[in-house]
Symmetry: C2
Subunit: 385 residues, 2 copies
């Protein structure tokens, strides 16, 4: 079966379990980062991102840069906002708050709209905020990995375009790209920043992002230079354009092995219609949410329409503690994550259901995890009321 040694199934909301072929690509022999073979692979991978984002706009720009997903925030904050310019940050948890911190670091004037724990800021209050002040950008966490709250990008973007058409709409898609629908051009998004190790299914180490022609123009119009060196669009844009045109180019050394793995992962994703992939993630997510409900437990994301399909954050029964249940699950070969939202951190666990664990029919990861959760809770003394 798998060429990987037996190991606990990793079902945290990223990194996820990886396909054998993707992991094998990580061991690719060494190549020059400016040699024709790797330049062709990197160029192809950038073009694959256009397909992943369902974009045909030639003025949109993909980036693949060595770094954590977090680096994508720096890319936005250091290039698309100048010191003193305003940013409206919609927060649905830990990651929205942190994106705001990053923007503040680079001098943005940040207004943050917080959803209630397990919910999201609502369109009327967003509309009100946008009509009271001019914002250069609005940022939204598509799926906040800390809560599993899903933001509604399509209606949100339509609202921004109606109320404040000049505002750039920037999406943190770290926990959504490749499992939640993102119609970049159709919805009129201006940027999505993401990472390799979640639904894309490539090991961690790559910051992946995609910006509209409009965002690139906004960057070009800056009055001050970019506020970062490594995360500078000025430094990276010509490099990405050259690689995609299959021309060697150098600013900082990319990771050939990670790019090969990303190329393999994207080839697998793009071999089938994306709509099928999104539907399959929704189907498995529904199954998980129903099983959680059947166990008498509550999902952190309160309303069904706010629930992500990438993961489920689950409130523990009152008498079950994280240091008891997580090791029980690990003993059954299943790795879940603890909570990280400040307000409720000790009260819930997180179950990631993305990538091969969901799409590979040979894997029974999700069923095993649900069984382990049920028996683990029982062993912790929990019985459904």
């Amino acid at each position: 079966m798998s060429s990987q040694p037996a190991h606990p199934t990793l079902l945290i909301p990223g990194p996820i379990e990886f396909d054998d072929a993707v992991l094998q690509s990580m061991s690719h022999y060494s190549e020059s980062h400016v040699g024709p073979a790797f330049v062709a692979t990197f160029g192809e991978t950038l073009t694959q991102l256009r397909q992943l984002f369902q974009s045909t706009d030639a003025s949109a720009q993909p980036y693949i840069i060595s770094g954590s997903g977090t680096l994508g925030w720096d890319l936005v904050a250091a290039n698309l906002v100048e010191a003193g310019e305003s940013a409206l940050v919609l927060s649905t948890g830990y990651f929205g708050d942190a994106f705001a911190d990053c923007l503040t670091t680079y001098g943005a004037d940040v207004t943050k709209l917080d959803g209630p724990v397990g919910g999201r800021p609502q369109l009327p209050e967003i509309e009100k905020a946008l009509s009271q002040k001019k914002y250069k950008i609005l940022t939204v966490t598509h799926v906040d990995t800390s809560t599993g709250v899903l933001s509604e990008l399509k209606d949100l973007t339509a609202t921004v375009k109606r109320v404040s058409p000049e505002t750039l709409v920037i999406v943190d898609g770290v926990c959504s790209v490749a499992c939640e629908e993102i119609a970049f051009d159709e919805w009129g998004l201006d940027g999505v920043v993401t990472a390799s190790q979640k639904a894309i299914g490539c090991p961690a180490g790559l910051s992946i992002s995609f910006f509209s022609g409009r965002a690139m123009q906004a960057f070009e119009k800056r009055k001050t230079p970019p506020a970062s060196y490594f995360a500078s669009m000025k430094n990276w844009t010509p490099i990405m354009k050259n690689y995609e045109a299959k021309k060697p180019s150098y600013f900082a050394t990319p990771s050939p092995q990670l790019v090969h793995a990303l190329n393999t992962a994207l080839k697998q994703i793009l071999a089938k219609p994306l709509s099928e992939r999104f539907a399959r993630h929704a189907e498995v997510s529904d199954k998980v949410k129903k099983a959680v409900q059947d166990l008498g437990l509550e999902v952190v994301a309160t309303k069904p329409e706010d629930q992500a399909h990438a993961m489920t954050a689950i409130y523990l029964p009152e008498n079950v503690k994280i240091p008891d249940i997580l090791p029980k699950l690990a003993g059954k070969g299943v790795v879940f994550a603890g909570g990280i939202h400040k307000a409720i951190a000790t009260k819930y666990i997180r179950f990631g259901h993305m990538g091969v664990s969901v799409t590979d029919p040979k894997r029974k990861d999700i069923d095993h995890a649900l069984e382990a959760l049920k028996s683990g809770l029982s062993e912790c003394g929990y019985q459904k009321a």
Copy 2:
């Protein structure tokens, strides 16, 4: 023999050829970045860096962050210098110039001392500069990958300590760490930033750095917050301390696979005395330089004491062009790099001799490369005068 498929031998000054076990570590199955197994590996790897830098100072701080080597410059520029503070940059080529650009991006007041092409700024002029103005930091490129010029760190650091003891001495060790001697504590260095893909022998994708207790104190005394988010010591220091203490911790997701590969590479390096490793690189470098001289060619680094042991930049004969010789070499299974120093870019090639190509007695990479260079030049019509 090797588990890698047949491929051209990569002898550019990084990425280098990788050991089989290191590449296999890149395919490690997925693990939680905060799970006990990976936390132990990451913690051990940070401790290995202390050994690599020959440091026993508990107040010194290692960092391993997803990113290119270039990210190390941001780490220095955004944390150890505040806007308006002065930096003295010693440049021996493309990379010294670029480090200056990075420092300028974050607001440093940069004075650059340039060596002549193929040489380095001399101690008397450095001493003069240090006595004329107070510098918060001095930066030096240990081996400039564009020229193969080696800086003399020990005497330089002694000079700084004598003339301007408060100035932090920061080394770009991207092309020197793990092949040139660096006695961090003994010489009194304050920081070394490097990357994974050169003499350390791990695929690209990790920014690796090491700072003295004194540098950490200078960071603590900042009046303004760090000027970067992803490259913020404030964000990363507690994480690195926790990992090294084998405690889970989160700021941004590290790359478990790259960290496993780094751990494997460092285990191999530290299994033997470092002095033997440095001597072996010097021995092979001497052999390469002599062969180049025997071919009637000149090395870009003019004086023997300025010549790096990691690589050799070689002036081409006048009638031999880069677009002719590099493909000839590739046809013989050897990949060298072209020039990147602005002033002489079309006139020279670069030959990297680091890591397993130098230390593994089973490999004949260097001998083959020297034979290929000789026959390749001959096929390009070159005959020694």
